[in-house]
Amino acid sequence: MDCLDVADLLLSDEREDDPLVDQHVADCPSCAHIAQGLHRLDRVLTATLLIAPPFELQQRLAQIALDAAKPQTPPWWRQLSQVNLTQWFAQRPQMIAAQGLATVMLALASWQIFGWVSTFQPVVGDVGYAMELVAASPAVAYLGSFQIDFQSLGIWSVVGMIGWAVSENGPVGRRIAASGLKLP
């Protein structure tokens, strides 16, 4: 290994595990000098290339970080422990009454549905009996009594569309407005 090879390796920064280079540098004053110079260059460059931003910029960057921060919401179980339930209920009597009523209605509805369901005894494999059960069910009775007057529905739909067309957003209404025609 000659001095040129060593100078090459010293520049490459990949000589740390090479005892031959270290030995050569220790024995050769010229290469030791180059190594020392490069070491000083490293120090100079480390100090020069790493540049701290000016103070004003640091302040602006800190503000950017603050602006980007979102308000921290604690998890729901931690929020629950912070709630004073007695005070919370005392401040909302209407809500408690409404929720109590809703609970009672839900219980009654469940009871009713449970009664309907338990009326029927399912028979596996008997399709005819199953169809009879479906026909006798309250749902079918309700649907059967639900009449839709398609004729009235159609007429009122046409009336609605005509109304929209002559309104200020409809195609006819927009033309009337654009023509400057004033209604009496």
Binding site: C3, L4, D5, V6, A7, D8, L9, L10, L11, S12, D13, P29, S30, A32, H33, I34, Q36, G37, L38, R40, L41, D42, V44, L45, T46, A47, T48, L49, L50, I51, A52, P53, P54, E56, L57, Q58, R60, L61, A62, I64, A65, L66, D67, A68, A69, K70, P71, Q72
Partner: protein, 201 residues
Amino acid sequence: MPEPSPALVQRAQAGDPEALSALVQSQQTYVYSIAMSLMHNPADAADMTQEAFVRLMRSLGTYRAETKFTTWLYRLVTNICLDGLRRRGRPVESLDEPASTQAGDEAQTAGQRLADTDRWTQPEQEVTLRESASEVRAALNDLPAPQRLALTLHYFEDMRYEDIAETMHLPLNTVKSHIRRGKERLALALSNPAEEESWTA
């Protein structure tokens, strides 16, 4: 340590103000240094640094830890600076230009060029690196952009050649070559005034 911990990055992604501040504080010097190495101008570098952190805050949620956080951030800064140079109508040196075309004489190895310089090879003569910041910066400014950026990243703590290559989108050997050529040119320019004059000319 420039590389922030994964826990800090996750807290910052969740919007924790302390984590965001810590992240900005730990990275601002490195980001500004990259911007300075590409923009050459403190005002432009400050603008680019600010833009980089604004974009970082916007896109922090998209970081998926597939690469190192610093590699991801430094690549973002590099791209912003290159865009900034284009927007300002300033010449943009391609980062993937091979080092050999920028360093001149290919017949000599780096070691030969370095060893040929009298000041380095004569131990009795004191090596006087001109260490004033302005002279070093002037010598750095004379380097081609890829060498300057590669050197800047190289002197960041813990920045490996592989990370530099990923940041610059360059092959590993090209990055090694840029760093080597950059150091060699700086060593020559800073150790020998006549040599530096020839570089700056």
